[in-house]
Symmetry: C2
Subunit: 195 residues, 2 copies
Amino acid sequence: MTTDSALTPEQILSATEEVLRRFGPAKATVVDVARSLGVSHTSVYRFFPSKAALREAVTQRWLDQAHHELQSIATEPGPAADRLHRWLVTLFAAKRKKALDDPQLFATYMALVAETSTTVEAHVGTMVAQIGQIVRDGVRAGEFGPTDVASTARAVFEATAHFHDPAHAGEWSDPSAQDRFEALWKLILGGLTIR
Amino acid sequence: MTTDSALTPEQILSATEEVLRRFGPAKATVVDVARSLGVSHTSVYRFFPSKAALREAVTQRWLDQAHHELQSIATEPGPAADRLHRWLVTLFAAKRKKALDDPQLFATYMALVAETSTTVEAHVGTMVAQIGQIVRDGVRAGEFGPTDVASTARAVFEATAHFHDPAHAGEWSDPSAQDRFEALWKLILGGLTIR
């Protein structure tokens, strides 16, 4: 039982994830979330004005789970090639972990993601901007060749879709996935680097 | 009405596609196919020993529709970079045409593809081998840097998944798709080329 006054958005989102896991995205309601927290549904609506807003917020939170770590890599000092490699490895590991550790929750979120294309677009935009930050650093340092940073960043993101886009999740448990990722990375790095 | 003696596998496969289109993959039967050709189902079984074999064959035919054209590009003379670019553009155009011109048939085949992973593996194997052929020519001509041909060919295929894997079909009508493909191509070409 959570007292109404102590209720935080984070608690609501965690409870929402649990309710989604238990009832599935088709059946989960705001009332279920409120009940699981021992508060009234109006308390939930104080933070999230509609069921759609709550679903979007919990989806965003799930999508952005690895953002903090990725953002650190995008902004820290060091050679751009190392950072971009680490950034992509971290993204792949985070996505793969979500897909393989809890396939049921992953499927649940996939259903939610399909409802909210703007949430996904924002997520992809953040990812591409982080890659852009590293590419820009690399170009400035003379490590990467001169390039249109925005379109190159998107190309890097799309070139690696196999290893972060949930559409390819079925291939992530393949034992050769890591080797194939490294072969792809070599190709991309060659495309970026001044030799 | 097709006379039994003149029946060809190609006719059966075309009729199967029409039946799949009309009844959907869940309901279409071998008897429906035979009926649409005016032959008995035993005539169909002479060419395709089971319903599963028939479905696999029609799926294979659909997947391999652009193979002939792609194979020509893979084997013709000329600079490897031009040929690889043309090969990828042709593959993207063929896949996009199938997805956008007849979305219902595309969805039908997507359902069939999901049933027969070996068919898809064979299809992907053929594609990767064709890329490998071009990459090998490029390396021999000193146009591309020395590389492990097989893993590089697979990396090129996976790097361009955005533009040929049906999982991404939803993004192919995007007006920026062509520009994004070219940005990706530049990155890949840079990775392959000796500069």
